[in-house]
């Protein structure tokens, strides 16, 4: 699944949630973030939920093609574990 939006914030969280629910149906939940330059805490929380759910369902989770801005946000929020795939 490729995210087309440039920014993912609380304003986009509900529509993204619906898309992720669909994505969760498959065994490999892969989210391509190449277009995304900004995320906020509501999105991070949603990704953490998805990552946890994937682990519980033995599904593969990956957040790929993260640009430096998004990586910095994950670092700042102590959520770098999201880049490592499955939830610890």
């Amino acid at each position: 699944m490729i995210i087309e939006k440039d920014e993912l914030t609380i304003y986009e969280v509900e529509s993204l949630y619906q898309e992720l629910l669909g994505e969760f149906e498959s065994d490999l939940v892969s989210i391509d973030m190449k277009n995304v330059n900004k995320i906020d805490m509501s999105i991070i929380q949603l990704f953490v939920s998805l990552q946890k759910s994937c682990k519980e369902s033995s599904k593969k989770f990956e957040l790929k093609n993260l640009n430096q801005e998004v990586l910095d946000i994950l670092k700042k929020s102590a959520c770098e574990f999201l880049t490592g795939g499955d939830h610890e």
Partner: protein, 700 residues
Amino acid sequence: MSEELKLFCEDADEQLSFMENALIEMQENGVDDESIGALFRAMHTIKGTAGMFGFDSVVGFTHIAENLLSEVREGKIKLKEEMIDLFFKSKDHAQKLIDLAVEDKELDEDTKKTDDELQKILKSMMPDAKPTEPSEVIIQDEESGDEGGEEELWHISFRLKPHFFSSGMDILSIISFFSILGEVKHLLFVDSDIPDINSINPTEAYIGYEVLFSTDAPYAEIEEIFEFVIDDIELHIFKADDEDMLEALIESCDDKDGFRDRLVSSGFENVIALQKEPLKLEDKIEKTDEKQEESQKIESQKTEKTVSVKKKASPKSFSLRVDSSKIDQLINQISEMVIANAKVTRRADVLDDNELDESATILSDMLEEIRTGVMNIRMVQVGDSFNKFKRIVHDVAKKVDKEIDFEIIGGETELDKMVVEKISDPLMHMLRNSIDHGIEMPSEREALGKSPKGHVSLKTYPDAGTIVIEISDDGKGLPKEKILEKAIANGLINENNNLSDKDIYNLIFAAGLSTAESVSDISGRGVGMDVVKRNIESLRGTVEIDSKPGEGSLFTIRLPLTLAIIDGFLTQSGDTKYIIPLEMIQECIELDDHYRKEMDGNEFINLRDSMLPLLDVRTYFKEEKTQSKRENVVVVRYGDYKIGMMVDELFGEFQTVIKPLGEVFRNVPGISGGTILGSGEIALIFDIPKLMEHKIREIN
């Protein structure tokens, strides 16, 4: 610029304006607690909000200014006159830092230098400052840190309440703020409460953070980091080595062991230390009882904190910040409703339907009330904005070595905010001119028998549906001869002109005409007064000058109260309908045979023993002759002048939505706009000041 950043800029502007007003107030009326409080609040608020955006330079500077103001507020330092100047400079510098931060620019050399100098002075005024040379102060600060206090390790634990995301605050900004106050040793993201993907409500918050934080800042300052989100989180702050509090925190978790393990694996040395010293059995029993107390203590502390923060944040009056474009949109919609209602009213007339007519009248009254209400939202007291001129006058006077007694009269007069903003630059220019060129040097004034202190006033008052702003000075007056010479030299007029004094004075509004002997950085470049006039006219306003040699000058600006909808009076001349702004109308009279006889071919009538010049609208606008049996005169007043507008028909009051006439008709003399009538016809709105100017010129 993002919405949040725009809000930050607006808020910072407002705070700095409060600060400036407070400083001016103290300069004029002495130091008082309220003004000191305003200074402190401005620096404190800007520091807090700038921290949210990571504007370190702003936070660093305002933090130091805030510290000094805190000491002043607590009465540890007396605020002296030289400190007022220092805080004026600090206010300007804070503005500069904000501008650079918002534009994402590095500090230039000059700003860095000012920043260093101001910080040194501010710090040197602190009660515990050592009397050292400025350079030594810096070295000492670098070595010992800002406050010189002991670094301590704090444990901060917070959980976002479910509604947190809808508060509009970003918790990442709060986290960023930590690094300004100290060093985050460890940061743990608490995700144990996040539900699985099928159960989560994505707009609710389930997360929290544990922070091990090293800082020399006191408890209260750490707590201030959370000032803007205090109602939206559950917060515990305690010393990292407070074992009881730490135990109580861990005990409050559902998964105590899991939580403890995560803290340990994240390197929280206080938790690791706690594990190394397991409690003895008897201690544990005692602790269990105490834990209950501790959690109650945390809860009660939290409540107290919330209450105290709420108390602090409680404003004097409630205000709501609304994007002005939303109000403009509302006004536009009301304008369209006014036009639609005019159609209904007309239809009721055509159908001779009394019930429909009555409903349309009620609707019309209600629309008028809504319109007034919405217009009032845009109205602001001019004093709030004009107070900044005190500072400008003070600075300009200092620069040109003159003494000025500056007075603002009628600051409570209300005017559309947009008009106030747009009139600000022209007024500033005119005030500078008055001080630079109008007011004489103190010695010169004394020699003329005047007070060495020049007087400049800015007076505002409502008059006949307009707002009048007068700038007056008791200086030397405008140099009539020089203006004439210059205008002739520039080819603006020829030598055989027959201009009145007012016409000559008005020449200063011509482009490129400056009579100043020397060009200063304050005024005198001849590029200004023409722009001033153009700006005023763009607001549908007018400007007049009156001047007396040796006595001073008076600039009178007249501005319309509103720019969108006015109460008009509908008339007709020939085949065209015209609107006259209702507030300018004094009376309507019928031009009967008695008056016609008196006129004897002239365009004057004797109205209760005074001569009233008449403007025949039909002739002026070259209208076709009509067979109307009756002719009417609408007496209008603008400023000191009155004229009678000769029209054929009078229809009465009409709510008028001002519509621009477009490029082709924009410069039709005597017409300021158009409006749409209920029938769909267009009515033209008279530009009364312009028509009056024409008539007066014709008489002269």
